[in-house]
């Protein structure tokens, strides 16, 4: 039994309710592909049977797994490189010049997936700043509990370290543990991971000097995008920096940001008085 129209609509409604992410009609293939491993794990033959069983007998664990499977994304190290070079070249020197010596910089990786983004930031900082772990803290959050746990573990498969991690950084910051690679204790000390649903009221955090909110807004409708940007702004310092994904912008969504071009990328800064 394949996924029925009723089953797909139920999944769409569930994902929208739990995460505010909009699954457009025509994304049935995505639902099938992402939920098939869970259905098989449970001994069911296909996604249709799995969705129908959860729909008729809802279970908190199964609904969470459905939402997580449809809201987590592929990620790689130094994804789209430029927002990270901008951190080293412009953002970090500017912040260090403004902050007192003892003041700890706070960075937020707001959709950290399995941890590549926060550890990429941690590696850059470790290479740029003496005693980085005592001067910077990185908060890594994701909607998915599984992704948060993976970020905490800081272990990556061979295939994952192949994806965009420069070899000199691999040998400097990782050790082999069995068939996996583990990030160094120094990097792990910098990163604190936790669950966070960006579409819900945000927990008390920050104030952040830098926020990476990349490739997240594309999944939400306009009112939700606006509300997320506004909530994120309240957790940032007035002279903070926000990085969005290459296909995302605040323009036409929330006018309380100033766009600043840094090399081949852009950052957004809270507009004064907005």
């Amino acid at each position: 039994m394949t996924l029925t129209a009723t089953g797909f609509d139920w999944v769409r409604a569930l994902v929208h309710k739990e995460s505010a992410i909009v699954l457009q009609p025509g994304k049935e293939y995505l639902v099938e592909a992402r939920l098939l491993p869970i259905a098989r794990q449970l001994g069911l033959s296909d996604v249709g049977e799995f969705v129908d069983s959860v729909r008729t007998r809802p279970s908190a664990d199964h609904t969470r797994r459905i939402v997580e499977a449809l809201t987590t994304n592929e990620t790689s190290w130094f994804r789209d490189g430029d927002p990270f070079s901008a951190l080293s070249s412009t953002v970090l020197p500017s912040l260090l010049a403004k902050r007192n010596a003892g003041e700890r910089l706070q960075i937020w990786s707001a959709a950290c997936s399995s941890g590549q983004e926060p550890y990429t930031i941690a590696m850059l900082l470790e290479d740029a700043l003496p005693n980085a772990a005592s001067r910077v803290s990185i908060t890594a959050t994701d909607l998915s509990r599984e992704m948060v746990e993976r970020t905490r573990a800081g272990r990556f498969s061979q295939l994952e370290v192949n994806r965009g991690l420069p070899a000199p950084m691999l040998i400097r910051h990782f050790t082999r543990v069995g068939s996996e690679w583990e990030v160094s204790p120094a990097l792990r000390r910098m990163v604190t991971a936790g669950e966070c649903n960006l579409a819900a009221p945000l927990p008390r955090m920050g104030p952040f000097d830098v926020v990476y909110l990349r490739n997240v807004l594309i999944y939400f409708d306009l009112p939700t995008k606006r509300s997320i940007l506004s909530n994120v702004r309240t957790l940032m310092r007035p002279d903070g920096w926000l990085f969005l994904g290459a296909a995302e912008t605040t323009l036409g969504v929330d006018d309380s940001w100033e766009r600043v071009v840094i090399g081949r990328t852009s950052a957004y800064r809270p507009l004064k008085g907005a």
Partner: protein, 129 residues
């Protein structure tokens, strides 16, 4: 601008896989079955922007090839990426110390090669800038 790559691997299947990924990205590719054959290609004066080289091969292995290339100033501009199943920390250290720029561990996906080339500034559209 034309970008060129030399793919050195004793496995014909692996040479074909790596070559086809690179050709898909716009590279002109030549192939060699071991390090010595690779040096023969370079000695003809065909000096590519990129060399992808395996580690374990007969006649001349990848590490010997990298060391040999690095003794010739005419080949200094070439970027060398090892593509190998050797995955120990110490082996990656040795390869980089010998003069390799990057390291891809088998098995890999086409995206992994693409990501590494982006890091190296060797995606053809970037080379052309």
């Amino acid at each position: 601008m034309n970008v060129r790559a030399l793919v050195i691997d004793d496995s014909r299947a692996m040479r074909r896989i790596v070559s086809s990924i690179l050709e898909g990205l716009g590279y002109e590719v030549q192939q060699a079955g071991h390090g010595r054959e690779g040096l023969d290609v370079l000695e003809t004066g065909w000096v590519p922007e990129l060399v992808c080289v395996d580690w374990n091969m007969p006649v001349m292995d990848g590490l010997q090839f990298v060391s040999a290339v690095r003794t010739n100033p005419a080949w200094r501009s070439m970027t060398i990426m090892m593509v190998t199943s050797e995955s120990e920390h110490t082996q990656i250290v040795r390869a980089l110390a010998a003069g390799a720029h990057e390291y891809v561990i088998k098995p890999f996906t086409a995206d992994a090669i693409r990501d590494k080339l982006a890091l190296l500034g060797l995606l053809p559209q970037e080379v052309a800038l």
